[in-house]
Amino acid sequence: MDLTPRPASEAAAPKARNRRKMLSVGLLLFVLLAGILVVSKFLTQSLDYYCNVDEVGQKDGCEAGRRLRIQGVVDKGSITTDNGVTSFNLTFNKVTVPVVYDSGEPGGLFQQCIPVVVHGVMKSGTFEGDDVEVKHSNEYDEKNKNRVATADAEAAACSQSK
C-alpha cells in the first residue's frame, strides 16, 4: 500500500475549504464592525432631540440653546434667499418659528407647504439651521390631473399642521 503523502493537486480541496472558512471569518468580523458603526451612528444622531416646532422650549429635551432637530411645515410664501442664506417660517400645531439656513438652497423637494426637519439651535427666537431634510408624505397622486385639485391638495398640505 502506498503511504506516501498525496500530491498537491489532491490536497487542493481542503485548501479551498480553508480559504472559504477564512473568508467567512473575515466577513463576520467586518459585519460585526459594520453593525457597531450603524448602531453608533443612529445613537449619535439621536443625541439631537427630534421635536415638533410647538415642543421647542416646552418639552423636556427640546430646550432652546441646545442642538435639536425640529419638524414642521414650511409656510406658504415665506421662503426668501439672500446671499446664500435661505430664510423661511416653520409651523407645527399653530406655532411658528423663523428659520435661517446659511448653506445655500436646501436640496430635494424643498418648497413651501412641505414638511421638513431642520438640524440646528434655537437662538433668540430664531432657529439657526445647518441642515435641512425634506420629509415627504406617504400620499401619491397624479401630477396636473386637475389644477383645482392640485391647488386644494397644496392648501390642505399647508394647513395640515396649523
Binding site: 472558512k21 467567512s24 453593525g35 444622531q45 430635494g108 408624505s137 406617504n138 400620499e139 397622486d141 397624479e142
Partner: protein, 255 residues
C-alpha cells in the same frame, strides 16, 4: 478494477447537469412577462406624482425589492425552524434557508440603493440615520453575517444547526424594521397602503406597485429554485469528494 466505477465529484454533478426543469422555465417566462409589464406600467403608463414628479417611479423598485427581502428572510426562518423541528433535520430545508437568505440579501441591497437614490431626490440626501433606514441597514448587515456563519466550516449538519439558530434570531428584526416608522420619529414616510380602506396612492400607481410585487416575487421564486439546486450540487460535491477519497483508500488497501 474497483476504482473504475467510483463516482467522482465531476460525474456526480454531470449526472444532474443544469438546474432547470419545465416548471422553472415556466416561472422564468412568467417573470420576464411580469418585468416587461412592470417596465410598461412603471415607466410609461403610471403618472408622475404631484410633488415628486418622475422620481416617484423609484417606488416600484423600492417596494417590490423590500417585499421580496422580507419574504425571503421569513422563509429562511421557516425553513430553519423546519430543519430544527424534532427529528426532521433534512439538509434540504437548510439549503432552502441558505438560498432564500442569499436572495434576500441581494434584494435588500437593491432596496437600500434604490432608497438612497430616492432619498437624494426627495429628502435632499443619499443617506440619513433615520430609524427605518438604520434598522434596514442593520438587518442587511445581520443577514450578511448569517451568510458568513454558513461558510464557517464543519459538517453540513453543523452548518445547518448553527445558521438555523442565527436565522431564527435575525427574523425578529423584520417587525422592528417595519414598525420603526411608528416607534421613532424620522424622515421615512409611513406605509401608503395601510389596509384596504386606507390607500394613499393614485389608482394606476397602486396597480403598478401591485405588478412590481408580483414580478419581483416571481423572480424570487425562480432564483430560489435554481439557487437551492446549486447548493444541493455543492453539497453533493463535498460528499462525493469525501466518498471518493475514502473508497480510493479502501481500494488501495485491497490491492
Amino acid at each position: 478494477m474497483a476504482t473504475t466505477d467510483i463516482e467522482t465529484p465531476a460525474t456526480a454533478v454531470g449526472a444532474r447537469a443544469g438546474t432547470g426543469t419545465l416548471f422553472t422555465r415556466f416561472v422564468g417566462l412568467a417573470t420576464i412577462v411580469g418585468m416587461a409589464a412592470l417596465g410598461v406600467f412603471g415607466l410609461l403608463l403610471s403618472p408622475p406624482d404631484v410633488q415628486q414628479s418622475d422620481s416617484v417611479r423609484i417606488l416600484y423598485i423600492h417596494v417590490g425589492t423590500v417585499w421580496v427581502a422580507y419574504v425571503a428572510f421569513a422563509f429562511t426562518a421557516l425553513a430553519s425552524a423546519a430543519y430544527l423541528w424534532k427529528r426532521t433535520t433534512s439538509l434540504a430545508w437548510d439549503r432552502f434557508a441558505g438560498a432564500s437568505a442569499e436572495i434576500g440579501v441581494l434584494f435588500m441591497a437593491l432596496t437600500l440603493v434604490a432608497g438612497s437614490l430616492w432619498g437624494r431626490l426627495s429628502w435632499g440626501k443619499f443617506w440619513v440615520w433615520d430609524a427605518r433606514v438604520t434598522s434596514t441597514a442593520f438587518m442587511f448587515v445581520t443577514y450578511v453575517g448569517y451568510l458568513a456563519v454558513r461558510g464557517l466550516g464543519g459538517s453540513h449538519h453543523q452548518r445547518a444547526r448553527r445558521s438555523a439558530v442565527v436565522a431564527l434570531l435575525a427574523v425578529l428584526e423584520i417587525p422592528l424594521v417595519h414598525f420603526s416608522v411608528k416607534l421613532w420619529r424620522g424622515l421615512h414616510q409611513d406605509s401608503s397602503v395601510a389596509d384596504r380602506t386606507n390607500v394613499n396612492l393614485h389608482g394606476l400607481m397602486l396597480f403598478s406597485l401591485f405588478i412590481s410585487v408580483i414580478a419581483f416575487t416571481l423572480l424570487y421564486v425562480w432564483l430560489l429554485m435554481h439557487r437551492q439546486r446549486v447548493l444541493a450540487m455543492q453539497d453533493a460535491i463535498d460528499n462525493t469528494g469525501l466518498d471518493y477519497a475514502l473508497r480510493q483508500r479502501r481500494d488501495e488497501g485491497d490491492l
